[in-house]
């Protein structure tokens, strides 16, 4: 398997070359681009839905414990202990992915329909399917890759833009000591409205 960052870059360059040769003003071409984009999004969602189905079928109730680091951006002061099951964790991951497809769909809708850009529509079409196939959760459940090494739950946070500034890792902690300490720290009991 090649590094997804590298393949993404290659894909982007190729798509850029292709898009240069396309006449975006031509309504026929535009129609095909639109259909292609929507089809790709549909495929991506379908992949996630199949994964979802597999997760519910497997119904893996193994207990999973980890400590989520505090997120100062959303005003959390304390690290959050999480006690969950593999099934629930996986479902959460896959739902997050599905949600992100819809968010990008909304963004694209705005860019394309309101601001009349067609280029990003073309560039984004294949990459959503690609990222669906490359996501951890799909790898585990569709391709049967064992959930160890890089795919060990909880998944490592993708190196984001803020990771460099934040200092210290934003990854969840799983070592026995910190889990045990956080677990009994009494941070629960937030008010339900």
């Amino acid at each position: 398997m090649m590094n997804p960052v590298v393949t993404n870059l290659v894909l982007m360059l190729v798509m850029m070359q292709v898009s240069r040769r396309l006449d975006m003003e031509n309504p026929d071409v535009l129609l095909y681009i639109r259909i292609g984009y929507l089809a790709c999004q549909a495929v991506a969602v379908a992949i996630y839905l199949i994964t979802r189905l597999k997760i519910t079928q497997k119904n893996d109730l193994t207990t999973l414990k980890y400590v989520e680091p505090a997120n100062p951006l959303s005003g959390e002061a304390e690290a959050k202990p999480v006690v969950t099951t593999v099934k629930e964790y996986d479902l959460k991951q896959v739902n997050q992915q599905i949600r992100s497809v819809f968010t990008s769909l909304a963004m694209m809708g705005f860019m394309h329909l309101y601001m009349k850009y067609s280029n990003p529509l073309f560039m984004q079409s294949i990459s959503s399917v690609k990222s669906a196939l490359e996501s951890n959760i799909v790898k585990i459940h569709l391709f049967g890759t064992p959930a160890s090494g890089d795919l060990k739950r909880p998944f490592k946070a993708a190196p984001g833009l803020l990771a460099g500034f934040g200092g210290g890792s934003q990854d969840a902690k799983t070592d026995k000591q910190s889990v045990e300490n956080a677990e009994v720290s009494g941070v629960g009991g937030i008010k339900e409205d």
Binding site: P81, V82, V83, V184, G188, G189, I190
Partner: protein, 394 residues
């Protein structure tokens, strides 16, 4: 269009009463862009003389009632759906309450809010019931919280939002039992719970007492449950054979948790709120069939007799385990006192700053000569201080 019609209105007096709805009608027409039925004349196309010659019924007939029909249909539909959702919620609750009367009427003198009423409906989503009159148990409060099925808009919106955002959680149907043991039957403080694995993280998030416990899997439990307790000792001894027999793997779909605790549900903010208050919380969803109700009855039975065992000291705990519990409580209290202390210090510092500022303002308001005098005094004071220091050193 509106301007034209309003000039017409000004001609005839009796039409102007209708102006409000007329504007809405015109707007509706503008939106739909379909003029009233082809061929047929609209109300305002008739001249005053023509209208005068009609009978009342004829005039009603020529008016355009579409907007009224739409409004009426929606209102009726909404009322109907409201009643339907409300009826469904009531049915859920009454089935639940009736199905549990097997266990409750066996155990309690009074089950229900009065002799002939099993529950009270507070609203379409909130119901409550009560049981009392049993040795070792002072009372049982049962509260129901259901999905807002009566209000279709909110119900649909809630579920839709939950699909697209993590922060919105849809309301779940739930029933909470709070069993308060009687004061005579005094047993030790501890937290121990049997929790369904489906959604256990959120139970820990919303229940302070659960977030003080350690989660452990056990071979004794059905695999869809875990123990959350303050010690091995507590979970083993409170998991009686009777309870084990009643609990099966399927039960995790309707049982949320069964918890023994002396600490509150909401996280305490004052030391006073940490005061131990022994209770047994049982939280469930609605069972979906008779068999499930049957085992829920058995589970409740097992819990009631477990309270007897605790109160009669048939179940006791090792002092080491209890010591650990006390330590956890002290730890939590010291966290609170520390926070309170910090808050106090902050307040004192704030007050000091305020006083200083007042003093400065006072000096500033004095005349120039007086200000100079004060400055001189200060300076002398300082000098004397340094001199004294030098003397001491010398």
């Amino acid at each position: 269009m509106i301007i034209v019609s309003s000039t017409k209105i000004s001609i005839s007096k009796d039409i102007s009463n209708n102006m409000g709805s007329n504007i809405i009608q015109q707007a509706l027409l503008l939106i739909s862009k379909t003029p009233s039925k082809e061929g047929a004349k609209g109300y305002y196309q008739y001249t005053l003389e023509e209208l005068k010659s009609f009978t009342l019924w004829e005039r009603i007939k020529i008016n355009d009632w579409r907007l009224e029909f739409i409004t009426l249909t929606f209102t009726i539909a909404f009322v109907f759906l409201f009643k339907l959702g409300d009826w469904y919620n009531v049915r859920l609750v009454s089935t639940y309450v009736k199905s549990l009367s097997e266990s409750f009427s066996k155990n309690f003198f009074l089950y229900g809010v009065s002799q002939d009423q099993l529950y009270i409906k507070d609203s379409s989503v909130n119901f409550s019931s009560y049981a009392s009159g049993r040795s070792n148990i002072a009372k049982v409060n049962i509260s129901f919280k259901l999905q807002p099925r009566h209000n279709v808009f909110i119900w649909v919106m809630e579920n839709l939002f939950a699909m697209f955002s993590e922060t919105v959680e849809p309301t779940e149907d739930r029933v909470d039992f709070a069993i308060t043991p009687s004061y005579e039957g005094d047993y030790d403080n501890f937290i121990s719970a049997i929790v369904s694995k489906l959604g256990m993280n959120s139970y820990r998030r919303y229940n302070y007492f659960l977030s003080l416990t350690k989660t452990t899997d056990s071979d004794k439990l059905p695999e869809s449950f875990v123990f959350m307790s303050e010690g091995h000792e507590f979970q083993e001894k409170t998991y009686t054979d009777k309870l084990a027999n009643a609990l099966n793997n399927e039960a995790s779909s309707y049982i949320r948790y069964i918890a023994f605790t002396d600490q509150p549900i909401e996280r305490p903010e004052k030391v006073r709120e940490c005061e131990p208050h022994r209770r047994i919380f049982i939280s469930t969803h609605f069972p979906s069939n008779k068999d499930q109700y049957e085992s829920l009855n058995n589970i409740l039975d097992a819990i009631f007799s477990l309270v007897d065992d605790l109160s009669s000291k048939k179940i006791t705990f090792k002092p080491e385990a209890l010591k650990k519990v006390v330590k956890t409580r002290e730890n939590e209290i010291s966290k609170l006192t520390k926070a309170e202390e910090e808050l106090k210090q902050e307040k004192i510092a704030e007050e000091k700053a305020k006083l200083k500022k007042q003093e400065r303002d006072r000096i500033r308001s004095l005349s120039k000569a007086e200000q100079l005098k004060l400055e001189k005094k200060e300076l002398e004071k300082k000098q004397r201080k340094t001199q004294r220091k030098q003397k001491m050193r010398a």
